[in-house]
């Protein structure tokens, strides 16, 4: 099986974004970056499928030069090679899903993959669009929010998560695109051997053939309004705990 995994580099979850002077973007120079978590699960699933069915796993990303880091990491975890669609117009964290999917489609199209995996959404913008738009651009059938993948050539059967603890199985012909839900598997981490081996693996840089126009634009960023009056309790841990327990007993009356 030839499997592509599309990975986005996103700011770390711990990062507190600050709005920049334009009020439309964030101060990216303050950010540190990591592999989008759902994409890490997609990568792990691809590696497991390769272990079962043979073939190769190709990590793909679209982004500025810094995004190469997530490809290095994917290679260290076991991906065979990588493709980096690099372009200045992919520089901003706020890049629209149509543009990203268009860039990825250019990289993936010629490779004749059997399966394209990606995370269900990104931890930064969370639009949950790129994977599905990519499926359309590649002319592939797709399924989203998947918690199990069974390859039964020439088909793939996947378990989709629905709301409220429900699931359903969906079968479709290969080649296909599947977006992966976090928690589908247990992640492996790169070993020292993997990190060393990654240095010899290829990251092919490609320029997008033609980027489509963005369909959405962030015209402003705001700090979310508070919906509740939060009573912040300060002091030493012992004092704060004492005050909190007292308030829960005598003010909120939720404990005896």
């Amino acid at each position: 099986m030839r499997i592509a995994v599309c990975i986005k580099q996103v700011p770390t979850r711990e990062w507190q974004p600050r709005i920049d002077e334009s009020r439309r973007g964030v101060r990216e120079q303050d950010a540190s970056f990591e592999m989008n978590e759902p994409d890490a699960y997609a990568l792990e699933e691809a590696l497991r499928l390769r272990e079962k069915h043979g073939g190769e796993v190709v990590a793909c990303t679209a982004g500025p030069a810094r995004a190469s880091q997530v490809l290095r990491e994917a290679l260290a975890r076991g991906a065979d090679r990588a493709i980096h669609v690099e372009d200045d117009r992919l520089k901003s964290i706020g890049t629209d899903a149509f543009v990203l999917a268009g860039a990825l489609a250019d990289a993936v199209r010629g490779e004749k993959f059997d399966l394209v995996l990606t995370g269900l959404q990104s931890d930064d913008l969370g639009a949950a669009q790129t994977g599905v738009i990519l499926a359309e651009r590649l002319g592939l059938p797709h399924a989203t929010i998947v918690m199990e993948v069974q390859v039964q050539e020439p088909h793939v059967r996947v378990k989709r998560e629905l709301e409220g603890g429900w699931f359903k199985w969906v079968q479709m012909p290969l080649p296909a695109l599947v977006t992966i839900q976090s928690g589908i598997n247990q992640l492996r981490y790169a070993t020292l051997k993997g990190i060393m081996a990654a240095k010899k693996k290829e990251i092919r840089k490609v320029a997008p053939v033609s980027l489509p126009p963005a369909r959405t634009a962030i015209v402003g960023l705001e700090v979310p309004p508070k919906t509740k009056q939060t009573e912040l309790i300060s002091g030493s841990p012992a004092d704060a705990a004492k005050e909190l327990v007292d308030k829960l007993k005598n003010q909120a009356r939720v404990i005896e």
Partner: protein, 321 residues
């Protein structure tokens, strides 16, 4: 015209479809609204939709759109949109909409703004949606030709506030033939995993842990607090993803929805996927070292600090009494 794509399952309308109608009414101004429902047996859902203040309910009744597949929905809705020529298409941001809406928007090459929590009408209408795990809200403009697709976050618009009409809206079929060869997915019946042994929805008090707990062995500390409070232990998704607690203890959009008297969130940042499952709690306490964590926006009481210092002090305090 504004089109609302409603959602039904076995003839029953998804309650978030009312929220999509409420959003469409806010967006519409004087524009008429048509609600579309697809399925093999749409009568029940269509009749419920006809109570809304909409100009029409249009049904796509076809065995080919039941059970749901994204290919059938995209084919049917592409044709429906071609006929109705709406300015906007509004959907609830359900798991189903997340599956087909980006494909439909991509097929038509039209803008899609997902997971919206607000609409700002103006010369150029914009949409508010959370970004960076809810730490910021982005105001987003849809670019290019209409229709613009908008999906609204579940719970962000009030379904019970959607205006009802003075008389039922007419229900008429849309004459659309779904192309069988367009459908590549084959869907099986939905199912639930083994019956859940823990029913958190009945719990009076819940102590929930998130990423801030850092390691599985630290769960014992949270357990100790839970037992001192007579509370159930729960977690946000990443904890269950890591296998530290069983999935049945997960609170959030993909887990259980709870409404206890007391909910103590330990090291939980407050991502929307978690918050939708617990915002109905009467009293919410957040302990988090990050003062900017979104959980503090919905907490009644907050302590900014190290949970590994504060929780032992709380246990100590509770045991004193």
């Amino acid at each position: 015209m504004i089109v609302v794509v409603a959602e039904q399952q076995r003839g029953k309308l998804h309650r978030a479809s009312w929220e999509a109608i409420a959003a469409a009414q806010e967006l519409a101004g004087d524009e008429p609204i048509a609600a579309i429902v697809l399925g093999a047996d749409t009568a029940g859902a269509a009749s419920e939709l006809s109570q809304a203040a909409v100009s029409a309910v249009r049904v796509i009744d076809s065995p080919l759109v039941e059970p749901y597949t994204p290919d059938a929905y995209v084919d049917a809705l592409e044709k429906a949109i071609g006929e109705l020529k709406p300015s906007h298409v509004v959907l609830a941001h359900t798991y189903r909409a997340r599956d087909f809406a980006p494909k439909l928007a991509a097929r038509l090459d039209r803008a899609l703004v997902t997971d919206c929590v607000g609409i700002r009408r103006g010369e150029k209408t914009t949409y508010l949606r959370p970004v960076y795990q809810g730490k910021l809200v982005a105001e987003v403009a849809a670019e290019g030709e209409p229709p613009h697709f908008v999906s609204v976050q579940i719970g962000a618009f009030r379904g019970d506030a959607a205006r009802r009409g003075p008389a039922p809206a007419p229900v008429t079929p849309l004459g659309i033939a779904v192309e069988p060869s367009a459908i590549r997915q084959k869907a099986e019946e939905p199912f639930q995993e083994a019956r859940q042994a823990v029913d958190l929805s009945q719990a009076e008090r819940i102590v929930a842990v998130g990423r801030g707990i850092k390691a599985q062995e630290h769960l014992a500390l949270a357990e100790k607090l839970a037992s001192a409070l007579g509370a159930q232990l729960a977690a946000s998704r990443p904890i269950c993803d890591s296998g530290w607690l069983p999935m049945e203890r997960q609170v959030g959009s993909s887990g259980q929805t709870v409404a206890p008297k007391l909910y103590i969130a330990l090291g939980i940042s407050g991502a929307i996927q978690h918050v939708v499952g617990m915002k109905g709690a009467r009293t919410i306490v957040a302990v988090n070292k990050d003062p900017d964590a979104p959980i503090f926006e919905i907490a009644d009481y907050g302590i900014v600090g190290d949970l590994f210092e504060i929780v032992p002090a709380m246990i100590n305090e509770l045991q004193k009494a």
